[in-house]
Subunit: 278 residues, 2 copies
DNA sequence: CGAGGAATTGAAAGACTTCAATGACGGTGG
DNA sequence: CCACCGTCATTGAAGTCTTTCAATTCCTCG
């Protein structure tokens, strides 16, 4: 963690695909950042409110969730170091979810005004930030599949796979081991299951020797089996085009074709075959 | 449907929040559009491929889906007239889902190159298109909640509510009635349930006299009861800031505060109370 | 050491899936 | 014009997955 130069993480993220010009890099470096330490379970952005800043995760985890009927909630995503949270608030003023810290976290806030003026000046930067939000949308879309079409065991395995790859893409969890400060209640709310069932699912993953899971520290025991078990395919994370140069310069550790599943090419899945007369 | 001037729908969409300058409006009008009629069940964009154009829905419905284990699939979104499909392909070249027509549809294609050059020239336009993708992401996020935390009955009701509001926002389904060319298999794949159960859920909605549902024509019988039943709250569609002027000029018919649920303000939902010492 | 949240367990109830069969409908070819 | 076919819709019954309820144990922190 290079919290002393927080923009370096941001620059790395933005240059996943396109190199930025020196001018644009300087624009990012000159962004006013307000650093802050947050304890566990703090709301960063609250449902129904508006905000005038975006959040960069420097260390720790955030998660977003939405309330549902009957005092239940659904966790809709996790944020790992390097993620920019709440870019949507730049152009959709009313927040339709809540973002909170999972464990304690180190954050950097960027005022909307500063960010907007930079984005107005540079279409390349606007494009890079736009792409970040597109990648987030792709993750949401995969979560839809996860909750809709996988059983509880595969769901949790899939979330673990995603977290692992995302952490590795920013140089963390290189040994397939990381501490994740969620409770089993959080796991349940992310998987859309009950906390009791979450407990049983975790035990099953332990029993199958796919992961070690002791007091909120996770260690992947058998990555390829976990990937198979989850039906995980990292295409949706869109890390494929990260150049080796960028990766090297940031000491990045993207697993090489970490997870590829052969997806059956049946066009209409369960329900039939696409007519080809289009 | 004003298919003779397809860009008018697009302009209306982009000006939901910000008026565009005359120059920007002209840029949109000058975009090269290729019109096409498509029969039912045609793939527009296919998983794993790349594409060099975006799609504007002029008439009919599209849907996107992703394959899952065991020849199953999950529908991840529906697209209604006026929607711009696959804006993500502008900046994420490899498509991670499949888009197909539901019934027959009238589409307009815009080449990436033309769109990109317009977006480079005008940051206001880039912002508007960016916002479109943010709104799509918000819909994905709500689908995560839908699949994670609602039972099959509420899930389907919620999807029906969403479709109704989205159609009404472009001047369709004013009488709370619209034809939707999905099969019960499609319904099942959208709700993440089996086709057999989808059938029973539909029957229940009919029995509760919430909707009429005859041969793929839907009529909402009791909107407020349906909204309550679904736990539907249209905040996530982010239509709140559409100005009345825009609405009037496009003969739009957004239901006034069509669906507001009181969301309990419990911060952590099922699992406890947020500490306030942040 | 006590308190309280978190994890774990068992048992019963509920939601949903699967299998298998039947009915309804529209389009096609003889 | 009608028989045939395939797709879609519908139904029943059995089985599986998940939830709920209610304890009990574990762990951490003050």
């Amino acid at each position: 963690m290079d919290i002393g130069r927080p923009y370096s993480r941001l620059l790395f993220r933005l240059e996943r695909r396109n190199r930025l010009s020196a001018v644009d890099r300087q624009r990012i470096i000159d962004l006013p950042l307000q650093l802050a330490n947050y304890p566990a379970e703090c709301e960063i952005v609250s449902y129904g409110y508006s905000t005038s800043r975006c959040t960069l995760v420097l260390d720790g985890f955030l998660y977003s969730h939405k309330p549902a009927a009957g005092s239940r909630r659904q966790i809709t995503s996790f944020f790992v170091p390097g993620d920019v949270v709440d870019l949507p608030t730049l152009y959709l003023p009313k927040v339709d979810h809540t973002v909170a810290t999972l464990g304690s976290a180190v954050l950097a806030f960027v005022p909307h005004a500063a960010l907007k003026s930079v984005l107005d000046e540079s279409s390349a930067l606007a494009q890079s930030f736009w792409r970040e939000t597109l990648m987030q949308a792709a993750i949401f879309q995969e979560w839809v599949v996860n909750l809709g079409r996988r059983d509880a065991f595969a769901r949790l395995a899939h979330i673990v796979c995603e977290l692992t790859v995302r952490l590795q893409s920013v140089g963390l969890a290189r040994d397939f081991s990381f501490s994740m400060p969620w409770t089993q209640m959080d796991v349940a709310d992310a998987c859309g299951i009950s906390n009791v069932h979450a407990n049983r699912v975790i035990q099953e993953l332990r029993h199958l020797e796919l992961v070690e899971w002791n007091s909120r520290r996770l260690k992947i025991r058998n990555w390829s089996a976990l990937v198979r078990f989850a039906g995980f395919n990292d295409d949706y994370l869109h890390y494929d085009a990260i150049t080796r140069n960028d990766a090297a310069s940031a000491e990045q550790d993207v697993p090489e074709s970490s997870a590829r599943m052969s997806i059956p090419s049946t066009a209409r899945g369960a329900s039939g075959v696409i007519k080809t007369d289009c």
